[in-house]
Amino acid sequence: MNLVMRIGVLLILLPSGANGDGHEFEPIQVVRSYPPIERAPFLPAAKVRHEVTDDELVLGVVIGGEARAYPINMLTGPSREIINDRLGGRAIAATW
């Protein structure tokens, strides 16, 4: 095999995140890992001023009669995408 063919074969053999069959688990490290968020601060709706506006999107959940909203504009970026929380007696993960 000449050099070009050798490089071509090598590139094909390198693992990528996605492969032909699509479901082998081959994740790629793209950024560092982030510490888990476990004790995030909350406000009652009545105390909200500028933190979130009416047209902004939230992830809303009701568990055991307790309602909580997670504004998407607080969840973007790898340091925020998972909020470990407790609501209505259940341990939950709100994710984006």
């Binding site: 890992s33 933190e51 939230v58 998407i72 607080m74 973007t76 470990n84």
Partner: protein, 225 residues
């Protein structure tokens, strides 16, 4: 989406805490649990590698909706109060509705309701793994919700609904009772007080849904599936 952190593995209950691993799989977030350091696909809710491989997290019913709509329906709600990371995500994000789906998996059967179909029809009935369901949508607040159409009355057939756009209510064909499409509660008529069960579904970009659920069906404009 929202997942339960309590799992059972080999008959042992466990509560997990998740971190962002910094890895992507098919450009989708990979989570790591701190207890076993196993790796999880965020979009599938499934453990892909490590001691908990194969465990699937319970998905809890949650809404992706505007803050105004949420606090109006849940006045006692609390809200996360971390410093803002973005300004981008408001109801205009769904402007190109073809790019988004409301996806559901029940017993291995996947069905996606494209947002443009939901916006046009406002309520779409379907069957997923034999379960009769209905997805409702409010284009103003971008709320998509999935309900079971099973009747609370034993032995009764599943409800069949039409959507009354003028009154923004569902109407069931058997009794003509009126139902709130956000809460699933019958607000008028013979079935007043009955409440449809909410089922979990997720809001997703269309392409990641297709990648992770290649066998998924898609609800379309013309017909119920």
């Amino acid at each position: 989406m929202v997942y339960a952190r309590a799992i059972e593995h080999e008959e042992k209950p466990q509560e997990l805490t998740f971190q962002v691993s910094g890895k992507l799989w098919h450009r989708s977030l990979v989570m790591r649990d701190m207890q076993t350091r196993s790796l999880w696909s965020h979009i599938l809710g499934e453990c892909m590698q490590g001691p908990l491989k194969g465990v699937i997290l319970e998905t809890l019913a949650a809404e992706m909706v505007t803050w105004g709509s949420w606090r109006e329906r849940h006045p006692k709600t609390t809200v996360l109060a971390l410093p803002r990371t973005d300004d981008f995500y408001d109801s205009t994000v769904y402007r190109d509705k073809r790019g988004w789906v409301f996806g559901v998996v029940i017993d291995g059967d996947s069905l996606a309701f494209p947002f443009d179909v939901l916006a046009k029809r406002r309520a779409v009935e379907a069957e997923i793994a034999g379960h009769p369901v209905i997805a409702t949508f409010d284009p103003r607040t971008t709320r998509a919700t999935l309900f079971s159409r099973r009747s609370k009355k034993k032995g009764s057939k599943p409800h069949r609904f039409t959507f009354d756009a003028n009154k923004n209510t569902l109407v069931d064909r058997a009794t003509s009772s009126r139902w709130n499409p956000a809460s699933g509660e019958a607000i008028d008529g013979p079935l007043k007080g009955e409440r449809l069960s909410v089922l979990p579904g997720i809001v997703s970009f269309r392409e990641p849904w297709r990648v992770f659920h290649p066998k998924s069906r898609y609800a379309d404009v013309g017909q119920d599936k």
